[in-house]
Amino acid sequence: MRELTYTQALREALTEEMERDPNIILMGEDIGAYGGVFRVTEGLLARFGPERVRDTPISEAGFIGMGVGLAMTGKRPVPELMFMDFALVAADSILNQAAKMRAMSGGRVKVPMVIRTQQGGGRGNGAQHSQSFEALFTHIPGFKVALPATPADAKGLLKSALRDENPVMFIEHKLLYNTKGPVPDGEYIIPLGVADVKREGQDLTIVSYSRQLLFALEAAETLQREHGISAEVIDLRCTVPMDIETIVESLRKTHRLLITHESHASCGVGAEIAMRVMETAFDELDAPIMRVAGLDVPIHVSKTLEEVVLPQPGAIVRGALRLMNGK
């Protein structure tokens, strides 16, 4: 199988789907002539022309609101938020308009729009360029939410998103763009809302997604090597729809659950996973569920502070050991 970067895999998904469907329109800040600050859309302006790859002013509320109008009139807009943090500038367009339009109209319109964005810290970008908002879009009904961790998933999930009839928040991670991984040749899609067991194990289940999944895999390796603990690692891949069944299936074997995500702990996706597991599979648990997540403080710039705020692989290992030792 070929090796591609996360960026290349995303670009391949956009290219293939734009070839297939002339209604797909990309819009965003510096995505055309400049090629996107993370280079995902590089070359697409030359290939598809300025009508379909549109550089916009810095106007997130405006061009995402326009995306709603485009989607309601037969197009498949793909507005790009350069940083997830800017979603708050366009919160009305996203959460009051796109998310609710179908329900408010009694099903008479649809909004097949994919908002592409990237989030997360680890690079010292500070409190307004490092946040992770998947919980926000999981809490307010209306968007499907995808957070791929690998190049293969990035391509397959983006292709699914571009074919979905619902609004999709497609969340990349700024520190995944240069990661490499095997990507299948030829046509494939990965359905939204299906988790993936990235590593099999016996002793505990670790659930994660996005870049934190790589930390979970690293922690699982350490647990095996240094402590003889076999961790199963599940990549949730989407928080809406949320595939609890795959997690419960794993718990029938391991009976212990650790959830880790980069975003703040309070009211995060981890809390939701824990509750749903409690509701559906409490009897499978041999120990309280463990959560390793971002601290409930803004994300500081200095490396020594950022690494405290955002959970590192070592924190997952320590959490897993506490979970296994019942302390």
């Binding site: 329109i25 009508e51 916009t56 002013p57 106007s59 509320a61 405006g62 061009f63 995402i64 609101g65 326009m66 995306g67 709603v68 109008g69 485009l70 989607a71 309601m72 009139t73 037969g74 197009k75 807009p77 500038v89 009305d92 367009s93 009051n96 308009q97 339009m101 179908r102 329900a103 408010m104 109209s105 009694g106 099903g107 008479r108 319109v109 649809k110 009904p141 209306g142 009839e165 619902n166």
Partner: protein, 309 residues
Amino acid sequence: MYERMVLIRAFEEACVQLYMEKEIRGSFHPCVGQEATAVGACFALNPDDYMTCTYRGHGACIAKGIDVNAAMAEMLGRRTGVSKGKGGSMHWTDPSIGLLGENAIVAAGVPIAAGAALSAQLDRNGRVALTIFGDGAINQGAFHEALNIAQLWKLPLILLCENNLYAEMTPLAKSNPLAQVADRAKGYNMRAVVVDGNDVCAVYDAVREAARLARAGEGPTFIEARTYRLLGHMIGDSESYRTKEEVAAWRERDPIKRLRAHLAQAEGVTDAEFDAIHARVQQQIEDAVKFARESPYPDPEEAYTDFWI
């Protein structure tokens, strides 16, 4: 046009009554007094042109051709409503007449209409998009962002500001520093005109010309239509921010009264002919209320439908 204006007035007055009798729940913002902007604008468009408006948009939706029975059923929260009872007064939506929704957020419909205009521009189908909003919307960010992009990309968009002098309860002069609302467009190098919003023919002419220019690739036009809402912001509004004398003066400029006088004088329409129109409208409203009352409420399980596809 006269009959449609009378229909809007009768619909709103019936809803006021139904609201007082608690048959209508939630928010209801009547557009009584603003019928000329709605009818003048929509009659100047083609049936397949796009439109967005606001929660004070019943007039525009009826002018664009919404089914009055389904609209009344929506007010009463019935399954036969235009949005199956899920949207209510502020979210009438009907893509079959180009209506991309009323909106409960004052400026949110502006970028949505701009998106529809971009869609028309890309498809080269000759359609235009009309967005109707109030003077309260001109200070919100989405409004400015959409104007900027619409002019930059020369979108076939008509921006119609119903300037009724009050943003909810705040007088215009206390919410923006401009002497006239149309000057907002200057900052975007956008064509702007001011019309008497209570003169249906003036509104019609302005929108007709804006549509012609939009279809010719000449980009958007901003129209300020000066009008007045004769009732409060919503039912139950104390209206403490304006005088009875001011309202009475505007009642003298009632757009329906004015059009009737014009038609009688210039076209020789007789009282008997007017009476026939009013009787027809009255019957239509009575039928709509009957239809709505006799329609079923949605079943509880419908809370989950019409959402995910």
